[in-house]
């Protein structure tokens, strides 16, 4: 009886694992397609009329930059910076003059009600647009209340993206100020 109960429990776990594995494999092409479509639509919002976008290999020294996409009116730079609770992944649109024209947070693990406000706080986010790699928390950039580390990470990301386009040294003040 005990053996039977144990086998039943193990069988349920094995069945659930196999079902999830099969579903995951079956949906992989749909996931790739949806992810690409969603990325393209975000690119169009960040840099309207800036397409088509082509990924360029990034071989610079700035560890904040994880990918670079070149469009006809500017670049979209994917950044990964260290926040309070984990990495913050952002897409930053920068025109060819190095001016930030749009940003969006793609992934973060920050605290609800504090760092997570970086997703939607319009007053905070509006400070990022039209900046040129010179954001410094406490100087020309107001941090979210109670989320200074998150705000610095966001500022670092935007400064890095702008510095990539203008060619500024990543170890110069342009990116140091944010941290």
């Amino acid at each position: 009886m005990r053996q039977k109960a144990l086998v039943r429990a193990a069988a349920v776990i094995a069945a659930a694992f196999l079902i999830l594995l099969a579903l995951s494999a079956a949906l992989a092409p749909v996931e790739a397609e949806n992810t690409a479509a969603e990325r393209e639509s975000i690119f169009q919002i960040l840099l309207p009329d800036g397409g088509p976008f082509e990924e360029e290999p990034y071989s610079g020294e700035d560890a904040n930059i994880s990918a670079v996409y070149r469009g006809t009116t500017g670049y979209i730079v994917e950044t990964v910076t260290a926040g309070y609770a984990g990495d913050i992944t952002m897409l930053v649109a920068v025109d060819f003059q190095g001016t930030v024209v749009g940003t969006v947070v793609r992934d973060m693990e920050e605290t609800f009600g504090l760092g997570m406000e970086a997703l939607s706080d319009a007053e905070f986010l509006s400070q990022l647009v039209w900046s040129q790699g010179d954001l410094a928390v406490g100087e020309n950039f107001d941090a979210i209340t109670g989320a200074t580390v998150t705000s610095r990470a966001v500022a670092n990301a935007v400064n890095s993206a702008s510095a990539f386009v203008t060619g500024a040294d990543v170890s110069s003040g342009a990116t140091e100020w944010g941290g």
């Binding site: 009886m1 005990r2 109960a5 144990l6 039943r8 429990a9 193990a10 349920v12 776990i13 094995a14 659930a16 694992f17 196999l18 079902i19 999830l20 594995l21 579903l23 995951s24 949906l27 749909v30 996931e31 949806n34 992810t35 969603e38 990325r39 975000i42 984990g86 947070v105 793609r106 992934d107 973060m108 693990e109 997703l119």
Partner: protein
């Protein structure tokens, strides 16, 4: 008394459904920012399974703690891995941590369950106990980590 593994079956159902939901969100809502697989999330899933078991089984089942823990670790190791939420070393880490959290919470909840008031007035007691235990877990994790 006969030992049974209903709790492990319920845990597999809860973790499986959560993994399925995460998988579907990832596929069909790629812009959504999903909660990370963290200790509070693991604790929440375990507590849901424990509360369900409390409502579905009477009396309190006798447990084979070693096998129960092992099956719990397997559940946390395999199901998120199957859904593509974890990979490699992360899956092994989640299995170990998830199994340990499962054992500790099962012990605590079972101990509390033995003292819960039964009958009409105590219908919500398991649910409230699970909720309070979750808040206690969050506080403890916040202090330790």
């Amino acid at each position: 008394m006969q030992k049974n593994y209903t709790l492990n079956i319920l845990l597999a159902a809860v973790v499986g459904l959560a993994s399925l939901a995460a998988l579907l969100c990832r596929v069909f809502l790629p812009a959504a920012i999903l909660p990370v697989v963290s200790l509070p999330a693991v604790a929440a899933l375990v507590l849901i399974a424990l509360v369900l078991e409390c409502y579905l089984t009477k009396p309190i089942p006798q447990r084979d703690w070693g096998v129960t823990g092992l099956l719990g670790a397997l559940t946390f190791g395999l199901l998120p891995f199957g859904a593509g939420l974890t990979a490699g070393g992360e899956a092994v880490r989640l299995a170990v941590v998830g199994g340990a959290v499962f054992l500790v919470l099962t012990f605590l909840f079972t101990t509390l369950r033995e003292r819960l008031v039964s009958g009409r007035a105590g219908r919500l007691a398991p649910l409230v106990t699970g909720g309070v235990l979750f808040l206690a877990c969050q506080c403890f994790i916040g202090m330790v980590l």
